[in-house]
């Protein structure tokens, strides 16, 4: 487990491939986890065929929240938005490859919550999006 923590998470935390902000963008959403101050913004460009053309995340926080965001963005580029809407917490946990207690789960799922709130065009992000 330590190895997984180190390899996947630390790598994506220290050297994210998708950190940034797209301008122009079709979808933008941001939220934070008030408990630990993690903050994530996601910007996204869509293609004419309803797929994700490009995406970026920005923000700050713990390794889990930032690495999850990087992994998530990587995983959705090229995917149909309809498929993105269906993503759930297993998608994130599979990519991280570690078990997480309830507190760290919130960190891990922040980016997915932000992404889904953006894609669904919601005013507010809710925990029920990622259950």
């Amino acid at each position: 487990m330590d190895d997984l923590y180190r390899e996947v998470i630390i790598e994506h935390y220290k050297n994210p491939s998708y950190r940034g902000h797209l301008d122009p963008h079709d979808i933008q959403f941001a939220d934070n986890n008030p408990l630990c101050g993690d903050h994530i913004e996601i910007t996204l460009q869509t293609a004419a065929d309803g797929t994700v053309k490009d995406a970026r995340f920005d923000g700050h926080g713990c390794a889990i929240s930032q690495a999850s965001a990087d992994l998530l963005v990587e995983s959705i580029i090229g995917k149909p938005l309809d498929e993105v809407k269906q993503l759930n917490k297993e998608h994130i946990l599979d990519m991280l490859g570690i078990e997480l207690g309830p507190v760290r789960l919130k960190c891990a799922l922040l980016s997915l919550k932000v992404l889904k709130a953006g894609v669904y065009g919601l005013g507010e992000a809710s925990d029920s999006l990622v259950e």
């Binding site: 207690g101 309830p102 507190v103």
Partner: protein, 407 residues
């Protein structure tokens, strides 16, 4: 039917002797129930293996403790068929559950002149909070009368409903008369009149199968200690939309989403109502109690208690000078409150205690009900899953002994 001899082995205190060598005959479960080994051991194991403060903890113990605390909530929700666990708020006891509603929902929604309907058979817990609100806010209180045979006068209730009360708060089962009130009907009628309902379930949840979705109660209050669980914890069930709209109760850690020096945002349900470090070990014990009762089966428990109660009422009635209160066995739970000519209930209880028989004597926190019947106190024997007909016989013999002494 349950196997009472097997059940009794689960309760270590039933091996207890009092006065050196007299075996305990515990007939006071309405005051508090005894605890089976799995409940005692669950809390013991929690302290020996997993104890930590919950929520926000990243380390293993904190995660374990949080998971155990929340798993118990899920069990309790399922036990009363609550649509979700977030509608179960942990409190200290039934009393705090009712006060929570009085301090939050009621203070946010009731104003001077608004009518609150209670009953004459309420426990002080479902009376004093409303008396306090009456002096503070000027709400009006009216009471559904209790008939001579210990039932609620539902005709009088209809008349009260015509005055469009804002709240109808009543006990599902009386701790003195044993009366099981027709809760679903009372709630339906209250709703038709536009009132919110609060049910004191302190005596019903331990003894009957209760179902929040069938009953349709808006608030439902109960205590773990009366249902094989530990002291120090109880629960309030509420409808989600009511709980969500209510202001918070106690302020502090965990009940907040965000705090600044000049403002705060309350947390989501149920945490909004759970300020500070909660009764964690007790929640674990509460969950174990619910598991235990579920395993035995609430239907079996109710049937067993019914059989004992029927027998007890029959035997007690035979004793000259004994006067029983409350309805007949088919309309009540396992409670037999009585007076005994010429002997004060305290003396009855004390003399029975010499034979190891634990009954309660007094007004049982239902002083107005006793006043209504023109007596200061009653003796009360009450029955639970671990009681036997032999114990009823011992009680009856004990009362004959009292008779002889005072003869």
């Amino acid at each position: 039917m349950l196997n009472v001899n097997e059940i009794r082995k689960d309760f270590p205190i039933l091996q207890r002797k009092t006065h050196d060598s007299v075996p305990l005959v515990y007939l006071d479960s309405t005051a508090t129930s005894q605890k089976p080994t799995p409940v005692i051991e669950a809390m013991d194991a929690y302290y020996r293996r997993s104890n930590a403060n919950i929520h926000r903890g990243v380390h293993t113990l904190a995660e374990e403790a949080t998971a155990m605390y929340e798993a118990a909530r899920e069990k309790i929700a399922k036990f009363i068929n609550s649509p979700s666990a977030r509608q179960i708020v942990y409190t200290r006891n039934t009393t705090e559950s009712i006060n929570l509603v009085a301090y939050t929902w009621a203070r946010a929604n009731l104003k001077a002149g608004d009518l609150v309907v209670l009953t004459e058979m309420e426990h002080h817990s479902n009376l004093v909070p409303w008396l306090m609100l009456q002096s503070e806010r000027g709400v009006e209180l009216e009471f559904i009368p209790v008939t001579e045979d210990g039932l609620l006068d539902l005709e009088a209730y209809k008349t009260l409903l015509a005055r469009t009360p804002k709240l109808v708060a009543f006990t599902h089962m009386s701790n003195v008369l044993g009366t099981i009130n027709p809760a679903a009907d009372i709630i339906r009628m209250a709703h038709e009149a536009g009132a919110v309902t609060l049910v004191d379930g302190a005596q019903s949840v331990p003894h009957l199968k209760v179902d929040m979705q069938t009953l349709d109660a808006d608030f439902y209050a109960f205590s773990a200690h009366k249902m094989c669980g530990p002291t120090g914890i109880g629960a309030l069930y509420g409808k989600a939309e009511l709980l969500e709209a209510m202001p918070p109760f106690l302020g502090g850690g965990d009940m907040i989403k965000e705090v600044k020096l000049r403002s705060f945002k309350p947390n989501t349900l149920p945490h909004k109502f759970e300020a500070g470090t909660p009764a964690i070990a007790e929640a674990v014990g509460f969950g174990a109690a619910v598991d235990y009762l579920t395993k035995v089966g609430m239907e079996n428990i109710a049937a067993h208690e019914h059989a004992i109660t029927e027998y007890a009422l029959e035997r007690l009635e035979e004793i000259p000078g004994v006067k029983l209160f409350g309805p007949s066995a088919d309309k009540k739970g396992g409670v037999a409150a009585f007076t005994f000519d010429g002997v004060h209930p305290h003396d009855v209880a004390q003399i029975l205690d010499r034979d190891g028989i634990a009954v309660r004597a007094g007004h049982h926190c239902a002083q107005p009900l006793h006043e209504k019947f023109g007596i200061p106190a009653t003796s009360r024997a009450s029955f639970y899953l671990y009681n036997t007909k032999e114990e009823v016989d011992l009680l009856v013999n004990g009362i004959y002994k009292v008779k002889e002494m005072f003869g």
